[in-house]
């Protein structure tokens, strides 16, 4: 166990240059953004003097290395600065918005896996059959549509026309109250509070955006499941298991599927971090108060602190996610010693 802990620390140390790179690049990228935030934030009727005043207030009058130094110093104290568009400390804002994005992404991936993995397994057990082709066409169609388009179309049909879905107003209809915050995940918090109504209300809000995202993520998961299952099913040990008389069920799930899980987990990790970043569009359509929409607004407004904070937060998530995948890997596959990577 001690060895594992050391390995985790080593991995984290390895991620350090990545984080540093992200900090530097995001700093440079934000400074390269067009526009003068001082002019933007000085307000509508500001004159040159008040813009200058704003500039000094924002610290934008200093030289670039100086600004970077200050930024890093702030970071070291855990201070991501204050967003100018929303007027809130970036840390607070991210802490509030991240659970929303994570909840949406996780539910979407859960739905997606719930559909894509069985589809992939189904297709792999009947390669070349019409089932296989149908699966392929279905998931490909899902990935072929831009998410914002799917989102608007779903709202139109399920909310506007039929009224089945609740109004696309973020995480909870306004008549409900947020459950007492423990994790920030409404589904979990509501469950913890034993509050079934709020739980269902939160779930109802989740359905359309999660479906939109899920539709988009079906393809990579299903593809990878199919490929991994095909290669697992054609392995020698499957033949051994068959020759030993094990049931088809045991062979499919106990033997082939567990082996196929490895590449699927990798893909899941990639899809997850990709989806979290691509949430932007879905969050915009569904008024979802996540970090994606936050980042877009910040970017358009050249809100340095917010953009940098967001990018850093995503990078940390990425690192954490990779660590998690590695751990999952070493759990699934005994051949991969955790420290051998």
């Amino acid at each position: 166990m001690n060895r594992r802990l050391r390995a985790v620390l080593a991995r984290l140390a390895q991620a350090l240059p990545v984080i540093l790179g992200v900090v530097l690049v995001s700093f440079l990228l934000t400074r390269a953004l067009p526009g003068d935030p001082a002019a933007y934030f000085a307000g509508d009727a500001a004159d040159a003097a008040s813009i200058e005043e704003t500039r000094v207030k924002l610290g934008l009058d200093r030289s670039m290395p100086e600004q970077f130094g200050l930024y890093v110093l702030q970071l070291a104290q855990g201070d991501l600065g204050q967003s100018l568009t929303t007027g809130q400390p970036v840390v607070e804002e991210l802490a509030r918005r991240l659970p929303a994005s994570l909840e949406l992404t996780l539910v979407a991936l859960l739905v997606s896996c719930g559909i894509a993995v069985p589809l992939g397994v189904l297709a792999a057990t009947r390669p070349g059959s019409w089932v296989d082709h149908a699966c392929r066409l279905l998931v490909t169609a899902g990935v072929s549509l831009p998410t914002f388009f799917t989102g608007v179309a779903l709202i139109y049909v399920f909310y506007y026309l039929t009224g089945w879905a609740p109004s696309p107003l973020g995480r909870l209809d306004f008549i409900y109250l947020e459950p007492p915050s423990v994790t920030g995940f409404f589904l979990i918090d509501a469950a913890l509070a034993g509050d079934a109504e709020t739980w269902f209300a939160a779930l109802r809000q989740l359905i359309l955006p999660a479906a939109t995202l899920a539709l988009f993520t079906l393809a990579p998961i299903a593809r990878m499941t199919r490929a991994a299952m095909l290669s697992a099913l054609s392995s020698d040990y499957i033949r051994t298991a068959r020759a030993a008389g094990l049931t088809s069920r045991k062979i499919l799930f106990g033997y082939a599927f567990r082996n196929a899980l490895l590449p699927v987990v990798t893909t899941l990790g990639m899809v997850f971090s990709f989806t979290l970043g691509a949430n932007v569009l879905v969050e915009k359509v569904f008024a979802w108060p996540g970090i994606g929409s936050y980042a877009v607004e910040a970017l358009v407004a050249s809100d340095y602190a917010a953009v940098q904070g967001f990018v850093l937060c995503m990078a940390l998530l990425f690192v954490a996610l990779n660590l998690l995948i590695d751990l999952a890997y070493s759990m699934i596959d005994p051949r991969i010693g955790f420290d051998s990577k």
Partner: protein, 536 residues
């Protein structure tokens, strides 16, 4: 957050119909309970501060100053021809001030504060509070200070609390703008006693505290604010600034997607959709209540930059003015919402905005271009604001198409928000751009002051005309009734239409859709005034 965001607190202020004992077990508000006194409003923008004085506070946030704070005075209310309510620029009514007097030289304004006026914490509103608030407005810099300056309110020493209920403003010179400038959202009155508890050396005006808390005497208080998501107003039953609002609570939801907002209002899931696109306004009209009010003292214009060589030629500017398909633009970009600003038959009144003499006439455009030094045409970037692309993009496309027929090749450049202000207003470097400016104070001279005077912020064309400078300086503080006023203003109009740094397209309208609520009032600041809102 300093707000009372606990569930119980939120509920307590909520449905009075429900017994307090039942409250802890109530996990959501049943539709009926929520129904009667809660008005839900959706808008596309974000409220980024509860304090208008703060650096970086955006326009939508100004409404917090309107709804949660009082000023000394306010504008009156009038009923428009279509039955909707509008503020009335011509009358100033009391808000926290009971009465006021102006000294004979017009320089000293003395206000008496309503004796019954109390802040939301129950404490009395005093002249000291007003003094502290005004000092704050002129000291913090940025927009509030600039706006105060427009009314001649420049320094703390101009404000004095004579006694607890008497407050005076001393002007350097009399101005017709002074009193109206006290009725705009900026000089709102804070509870200085609470604010001072949060003052630090680094933060002498309690910016951090006021940023997140409302400490006014206004009609509402903010009980919940989730930046980027929603803002919840709750009625302040102690309000003395006017009749109590019908709505007990107003929930303001931020919904970025325009299509979603439309669906919500159309289905009646929200009672009000703020600032809807012209297209929705024209289509929803009849299905739900739609109010489209032409925005006073505002015009959408094509701005021709005098620093761009071809536009220094008056014939080129006129050629452009004749090449604009006004009618089509009004139809496709404004969907007929607003007031046409072309084809005017002469300057008869001092109303502003008023139609320019130009119409769409390609032959005339060609004639003018032939006469110019750029008969063969030229290339020019055509800049529009990404944030306003709903009207700017179709407009630009239609103009681009016609300009092309003259040989003027334009490429459309969408500029994101942060850069737009810098490029168009601060650096004033866009050769050809669409522009919009509306003056809060409804005087032509005020508009010209900002948009036609050299170096001023909204003069994005780098226009400089000594006569205009002279006329603006002369008329700005002159009372409208003054006999010199009208001729001078008309002369300004003449020059503006002749020199054409800004080619007027149309006067925009602010459109708001209501479905199941009443009490919309149009304001020059174009933000939500919830003080008359009621369900029904």
């Amino acid at each position: 957050m300093g707000l009372d965001t606990s569930r119980r607190g939120f509920l307590k202020g909520g449905s009075v119909a429900l017994g307090a004992a039942a409250l802890p077990f109530l996990k959501f508000m049943p539709a009926q309970a929520a129904g009667d006194d809660v008005v839900v409003v959706v808008m596309g923008q974000t409220i980024n501060s509860l304090d208008l004085h703060r650096t970086g506070t955006n326009r939508p946030s100004y409404q917090v100053a309107v709804n949660c704070y009082d000023r000394l005075v306010s504008f009156g209310t009038k009923t428009m021809p279509d039955g909707s309510l509008s503020y009335d620029y011509s009358t100033i009514v009391p808000e926290i001030a009971e009465s006021w007097t102006v000294s004979d030289d017009g320089k000293v304004l003395t206000f008496r504060i309503k004796p019954e006026a109390v802040f939301q914490d129950g404490s009395k509103v005093t002249a000291q509070d007003v003094k502290w608030s005004f000092d704050r407005a002129v000291s913090v810099g940025g927009f509030p200070t600039t706006q105060m300056a427009a009314g001649g309110l420049l320094r703390p020493d101009q404000f004095a609390a004579v006694d607890e209920a008497t407050f005076t403003v001393t002007l350097d010179k009399p101005s017709k703008l002074a009193l109206p400038d006290l009725a705009v959202p900026v000089p709102f009155i804070l509870n200085s006693k609470i604010a001072k508890q949060h003052v630090t050396d680094a933060d002498p005006w309690a910016m951090e505290f006021v940023h997140k808390n409302t400490i006014g005497s206004g009609a509402y208080k903010v009980v919940r604010w989730d930046p980027g998501q929603q803002l919840v107003y709750e009625r302040n039953d102690l309000w003395t600034g006017g009749p109590l609002p019908g709505a007990k609570r107003v929930v303001l939801r931020e919904v970025p997607s325009q299509a979603t907002r439309r669906a919500l209002i159309e289905r009646g899931d929200v009672q009000m959709s703020w600032n809807i696109p012209n297209k929705d306004a024209s289509e929803l009209d009849g299905k739900v209540e739609v109010y489209s009010t032409p925005i006073e003292n505002a015009i959408y214009v094509v701005s021709l930059n005098y620093n761009f060589e071809p536009f220094q030629d008056p014939d080129v500017r006129k050629a452009v003015a004749y090449a604009i398909p006004y009618e089509e633009i009004f139809k496709t970009a404004a969907y007929g919402r607003g007031v046409p600003m072309w084809g005017g038959s002469g300057i008869e009144t001092i109303d502003w905005p008023q139609p320019s003499p130009y119409v769409f006439d390609l032959d005339k455009a060609r004639e003018h271009l032939e006469k110019s030094a750029f008969a063969g045409g030229f290339d020019v970037p055509f800049s529009i604001d990404l944030g306003q692309s709903d009207w700017m993009e179709p407009t630009a496309l239609l103009i681009q198409e016609q300009l092309a027929k003259l040989g003027i090749t334009s490429t459309i450049d969408k500029i994101p928000g942060a850069n737009w202000r810098t490029a168009s207003l601060v650096e004033k470097r866009l050769p050809l751009a669409l522009e919009t400016f509306g003056g809060w104070l409804n005087y032509p001279c005020y508009y010209f002051f900002w948009a036609y005077q050299e170096g001023h912020l909204f003069n994005s064309s780098n226009y400089a005309n000594p006569e205009i400078e002279q006329l603006v300086a002369e008329t700005l503080d002159l009372p409208v009734e003054h006999p010199d006023y009208a001729p001078k203003v008309k002369r300004m109009f003449e020059i503006a239409f002749e020199d054409l740094p800004r080619i007027p397209l149309f006067q925009p309208a602010l459109s708001v859709a209501m479905n199941g609520a009443t009490g919309y009032e149009y304001w020059f600041h174009r933000e939500l005034d919830a003080r008359k809102l009621a369900k029904g």
